[in-house]
């Protein structure tokens, strides 16, 4: 082996000189072991800190500890020179700590400079702005008080409301134009939307509503038994499923499936400039993206609700037969008198309103997406939460309205 080879190997060894034992590494990480030198020299007024050895990321904890200790010992000093001449190797992270150390000293009104670095070290110093004069002290972030927070939140809410009103206004204008010229609406996407939001959702809608009917009947069976009013479980299940639970549970499933999908789909199209591309080809996003989704959802929702009503009542029938000794025939006879057409119709009317709200909110949120993947996630979450809130509010309004109309 030649001398040159040995030198190169030594240098490589120095560069990859990382502790192999876990104990050694832990000691370094918490700053217990110091592998470089840090000497204080000079006078009390003009201090000199001489650094030496190799200082790498493994030594950063020990270096940071030294920086903290040294800052406490500088009270009498007027100037500090950080001598880098003995440093063999320093990496970017440790240089960043030294630049921070120097800036901290300067903010105390002292002069502080790096001196004596090798060309390699000087290059790192420059990259980290080490020879620049710091222009100003770090700007302290002002704490935002409660009044300001309320104000900011109000402005944000008003901005959001303006966006929503803007969207509704555009949609109304678009609908009027679409009625005048139906060819401009993208009807091709209505069918696929109905398939995805309707046919594909049928199994989960049936399962959930069957279980809801089952649970309602089961919970009420015990109470009704006490009064010998077993047969009224039919009325209870049928009316609650058709008027309330069928439409609401179906809407909640549609919100989770279709609402989230619409918001994420349109949001992704927005951030990947597909919506802009659509506009440059002469298409209106509202007529091309929003209307087919809304139409698809509104057309399919009543069918899903009818399905939900039927399986919910079937759930009740199973419980009635199992625990209340009501035969299926008696159940069906009682069902004829228990459910009025207005019960079913009111549920279907609600389902149309719910579907409109789901499509509107999810599409509005999707098209309002900004930023990247994080923006899509934020808007999808926002869409689902807003839809759930809107569903409950709409349900309450419909209950009051339908009661007022005597339905």
């Amino acid at each position: 082996m030649t001398k040159g080879d040995t030198l190169i190997e030594d240098e490589v060894d120095a560069l990859i000189d990382r502790p192999s034992r876990v104990d050694d590494r832990l000691s370094l990480m918490v700053g217990l072991v110091q592998r470089f030198t840090w000497e204080r020299a000079g006078t009390e007024e003009a201090q000199r800190i001489e650094l030496g050895g190799s200082i790498t990321i493994d030594d950063s904890a020990a270096l940071w500890k030294k920086v903290g200790e040294s800052l406490l010992e500088l009270k009498a000093a007027r100037s500090v020179h950080i001598d880098l001449s003995q440093i063999q190797l320093i990496d970017g992270a440790c240089m960043a700590l030294l630049v921070h150390f120097r800036n901290d000293i300067r903010t105390r009104g002292l002069t502080c400079e790096f001196v004596g670095g090798s060309p390699d070290v000087e290059r790192i110093v420059d990259l980290y702005g080490g020879h620049k004069r710091s222009k100003r002290r770090r700007v302290q972030r002002k704490p935002v008080n409660a009044v300001e927070q309320v104000g900011n939140a109000t402005v944000a809410v008003l901005h959001e409301i303006r966006q929503i009103l803007d969207f509704i206004g555009q949609l109304v204008a678009s609908t009027i134009l679409a009625v005048k010229n139906p060819k401009t609406v993208n009807f091709h996407d209505v069918g696929p939307t109905m398939e995805r939001a309707g046919a594909d959702a049928a199994p989960i809608v049936m399962l959930i509503n069957f279980l809801i009917g089952f649970v309602v009947a089961y919970q009420s069976a015990a109470q009704l038994k006490q009064f010998g009013a077993n047969i009224y479980v039919v009325d209870l299940v049928a009316v609650s499923m058709t008027r309330e639970l069928g439409p609401l549970m179906t809407a909640i499933i549609m919100c989770g499936r279709s609402g989230a999908a619409f918001a994420a789909e349109l949001g992704t199209m927005k951030v990947s400039e597909e919506v802009d591309a659509l506009r440059t080809l002469g298409f209106m996003p509202l007529r091309h993206l929003v209307m087919p989704r809304m139409l698809g959802l509104v057309l399919v929702a009543p069918f899903l609700v009818l399905l939900a009503d039927a399986v919910g009542i079937a759930g009740g029938l199973v419980v009635a037969a199992m625990t209340l000794e009501i035969t299926p025939t008696r159940f069906l006879i009682q069902l004829q008198s228990a459910v009025k057409p207005s019960d079913i119709i009111s549920g279907l009317v609600k389902s149309v309103a719910f579907a409109s709200a789901i499509a509107l909110i999810s599409c509005q949120q999707g098209l309002a997406t900004t930023g990247g993947a994080e923006g899509v996630g934020r808007r999808t979450t926002g869409a689902v939460v807003s839809i759930l809130f809107a569903l409950i509010v709409l349900d309450a309004l419909f209950t009051i309205l339908l009661a007022g109309l005597g339905l």
């Binding site: 620049k132 401009t184 990947s272 400039e273 597909e274 802009d276 591309a277 659509l278 506009r279 440059t280 080809l281 002469g282 298409f283 209106m284």
Partner: protein, 246 residues
């Protein structure tokens, strides 16, 4: 002398409260390859979005082909646009992407649309890719497909947003050749945003350089001449790829 294709007068643009460009004036001649240049964050892409009509300016006029402000929706496309990422519709095949506007805005039967789509894809060197999904294409191929889509309606003006960004040198050079061929062969006017110096010198006939600090146009003209003749150090620095003073 022919009238310019695009005339911009006293245009001020930005977003929110931020003004990026104030009272800018320039014109794009027919048959030009016009490049919008400038450092990061100076508003190049925002200016392009205003020229396309995707954003509304704070003030000023953009007049395209003497007709008026750019108008997008509700009519067949009057000019082609290629976005930085291509922005192909991910749910459609490449062929459907290219033929989409033709299908919607013309009465052409589907086999005629297919013939046009095949021709446009051949024009950009993507023959035989009509049944592929955008996700199956490489970055360069996606940009070519986006150019084919922008060309579908036979525009005489096309906007390109950073066409060669993120491409390997060979694909970028091929794209430059394609732009020159479209401009030379079809007389297409090209307005593009780029900061690839090789592209600028190879294809650019005219350019404007925007400056973030002054929020104005600091240079106008042939990039090859500006490179050597401009007296503005910012312009020379840009064209000669020199690092800024710290």
């Amino acid at each position: 002398m022919k009238k310019p294709l695009i005339v911009v007068r006293d245009l001020s643009i930005g977003h929110g409260d931020t003004v990026l460009l104030e009272r800018a004036n320039f014109a794009v001649e027919r048959g030009d390859i016009f490049i919008i240049l400038g450092g990061s964050g100076c508003g190049k892409s925002t200016l392009l979005r205003h020229l396309i009509g995707l954003e509304t300016p704070f003030s000023g006029d953009i007049n395209i082909a003497g007709v008026g402000a750019p108008r997008l929706e509700g009519a067949s496309p009057r000019y082609g646009v290629m976005f930085q990422s291509g922005a192909l519709f991910s749910s459609m095949t490449v062929g459907e992407n290219v033929g989409f506007a033709l299908q919607e805005w013309t009465e052409l039967p589907s086999d005629a649309v297919s013939a046009i789509v095949r021709a446009k894809l051949t024009l950009v060197g993507l023959e035989g890719s009509e049944n592929k999904l955008p996700a199956e294409l490489s970055g360069g191929m996606r940009k070519r497909a986006a150019i084919a889509r922008a060309m579908a309606f036979e525009p005489n003006l096309i906007f390109l947003d950073e066409p060669s960004a993120g491409l390997d040198p060979v694909s970028a050079a091929e794209l430059d050749d394609l732009i020159l061929a479209l401009n030379g062969g079809l007389g297409l006017t090209v307005v593009m945003v780029t900061h690839e110096l090789e592209s600028i010198f190879k294809v650019g006939k005219n350019c404007i350089m925007l400056d973030r600090e002054t929020r104005s146009i600091i240079a106008t003209g042939d990039p090859n001449r500006l490179r050597t003749e401009s007296e503005d150090p910012r312009v020379r620095q840009f064209f000669n790829r020199e690092a800024g003073a710290h």
